[in-house]
Amino acid sequence: MNKYVTTPEQTVVRGVTVNAIPGQRPVLIDGCDTIPALFRDRARTYGPATAHREKKLGIWRSRSWNDYWNHAKWIGLALHHLGLKRGEVVSILSEDRKEWLYCDMGIQGIGGVSSGIYTTDSASQLEYILKDSDSRFLFVENEEQLDKLLEIPDGAPGVSKVIYFEREGLHELNDPRFIFIDDLYEIGRAQEAETPDLFDRAIDETRPGDLALLIYTSGTTGMPKGAMLSHENILAACESGLRALPSDSDTEQLCFLPLCHILERDASIYFPLTVRATVNFAESPETVFDNLREVSPHVFTAVPRVWEKIYSRVTILAQDATAIGRLAFRLSLRCGMKRAEAQLAGKPVPALLAAEYWVWDILVLRNLRRLLGLDRLRQGTSGAAPISPALLKWYHAIGVQLLEGYGMTENAGLASVNRLDANRQGSVGQAVPGVEIRIAEDGEVQTYGLNNFMGYWRNEEKTAETYTEDGWLRTGDVGELDDQGFLRITGRLKDIIITAGGKNITPAEIESRLKFSHFISDAVIIGDRRKFLTALIMIDQENVEKFAQDRKVPFSDFASLCRAPEVVEMIRAEVEQVNREFARVEQIKDFRLIDVLLTAEDEELTATMKLRRSFVEKKHKALIDDMYA
């Protein structure tokens, strides 16, 4: 740990010592000023206690802080042995698993920079990121990901060694460039025997302002940019998170979104490190709902799409229940909705209604929450995209506190969040302690705090564009602050459409209204330099299939579902519903459904399943031209 001339006044928040006044230098968490220093502190203090759990052969197995520390240390020492220098980048290409965390901590501990790559990225995207970041080493999960590297024409020669986590199918691999993770641990152990204090020394040499992470953001235009985050940036976000989110050392959580994304990275690596929470890894993206039920987490952070899926599941379950079950569910939901309305409006709940809710809660809602794995939940958080207010209310009605937050990679993932005691629906909450938010003259949301990133990797021009002259971060989002500092996001600055008639329109506002329909999973509004607005719509497969099935609309595959006149009419009604809320120039005159089922591997979708405007406009040009023909 570094010696500072003065240590700011300290205070204890839920068992963790932090600066009494948030947002000040040096950012200290239990006296630590870098991520690896905090990691070391946790490992020393909680050694044999459980840090994570991973399901193997059907059984959840615990891994201790000692396991976490030792493996991270061996990785760090082995990378040092193999020639990694301070400040060099190491990339990780894997689904969420404990080794992801071991690597992240090992790389940072030895003074390297950790960079995650999406497993859904193509070989050419992998090539771009490896070369742009000058990655010296690459960790890959398995055969499938390794083959992506081998597809790169020149093999990305800058990467000196590739370490793989799973040996299946790779036993025959005989190339000194590829190392199995167990062999890497061996190298680390040998290095440790030689220089027992090297890893500790490396941690001590790291400064708060040093580069810790490189996070490639899925740019909607052009190639992805590497956002540079320092140790201080992350610790500042942890400090804010500690004060604004309800986690503590007893908290169980579930890790399932990509760790390359700042939301899951914060929620499943750095925040748990701060509060000493236990992280459980979902087996695979397909088993999330089963894993959720098994773990029954205390806090659950997810993107709106996941919350929508849970809702759809409940609706489908309820329809397949017995007549009595359906009736009980309907009545309890109606009572819950009334209560939610009163509470969300800030009014007291009438005693009779409260009593009625209590009964329904015992009879129905508590069981429902148990069935979903949300029975122990203190707070659910939604971020990374706008969520429908109706959905928030529905969760409130069944007794799940679901709150919306806001942040981006460039401010280490956390700028504002609604809190149990300060919640305003439709807003993304008040600024978290340590962060300030202001609205610029053009309506842009700008943030200030120690969490604001160092800039884009080797791209000073873009970095300069991202900061104002007085050092505030330009988020690129348009929004409003109300009298009590609750932030409402209305759109993206760059996406503003100027119609042929010269009107400025923020498409995000219309798009998120469309997305609030359970039948529409995402939409892109078209209309720049055109006479009128149109939309390309991606339907929610599950809900629309159910709609078609219930109304006896025949369909075979996804394309025929999108073609069915009844489905098109239903979506038209949804669009018209949205049109009613907007002015005349903002009306959607026509729309088309995207009739291919997109997956995260498609470039039109981000890893969090959002449509990418530029790619959608390019790939589905025929549909667009058809609407303006």
């Binding site: 398995n142 055969e143 499938e144 083959d147 081998l150 597809e151 299946e168 199918g169 025959e172 691999l173 299939e545 078609a548 099935q549 006896k552 609309v553 025949p554 369909f555 075979s556 595959d557 996804f558 025929s560 291919v596 089922l597 997956t599 591997e601």
Partner: protein, 258 residues
Amino acid sequence: MAEAPLLQIRNLETYYGPIMAIRGVSLEVHTGRVVSVLGANGAGKTTLLKTISGIMDPEKGQILFEGREIQGREPHHIVRAGIVHVPEGREVFPLLTVEENLALGAYTRNDRAAIAHDRDLVFSYFPILAERRRQEAGTLSGGQQQMLAIGRGLMLRPRIMLLDEPSLGLSPLLVQEIFTILRRLNRDVGVTMMLVEQNAKAALDLADDGYVMELGRIVMSGTASRLKESEDIKNFYLGAHQASERGERRWKKKKTWR
């Protein structure tokens, strides 16, 4: 195709107790066409055929045969309507002779001359059955039993034949032989067929149209030639080898059904 389909299935749902085996299937078979339904084990293919032929009752949805609803009706009504089901695993009567088995196929008919003519037709397509006409069906080989099962189905002069895995347990050569005969039956006699198959290559070579079923749902449909060109069909059903730099590869790309 402007004319109404011979067989139209709309939003069919069928359960085994609490288990939903068919989760909303819609498909069409037009007169004179051969339609293949592909799918792995447990996709719901057999259940689909059983629901059409009335052995199982659907929970929801309609089956329209020549424009009339037939779902949930008794199997013997459906047979009389002209739908013949050639079940999986042949299911010939082992202790009856070949001739007796064929005679049972014509059980619903009483025009003796025409029956005799049809039996000769079956024998002309399957000469081996003529040779063994007095042999007990249980003593026939698997391929011969399959031929007998198809022949028995033909004895009804069906409007449509539902074939459940005619290639099951047969050598590649026999599969080829039987599928060639099926093709001829379709061309020469104009028998409309709907067959479910795991042997995707044989089924797509024979069929005009195809559907792919997974977990009780249709995930892809189109003409057989289009399906044969699909990357997913090639990789998952036709066993195309995806090459890799290492020369070996265990994993497969995710299916997208495009």
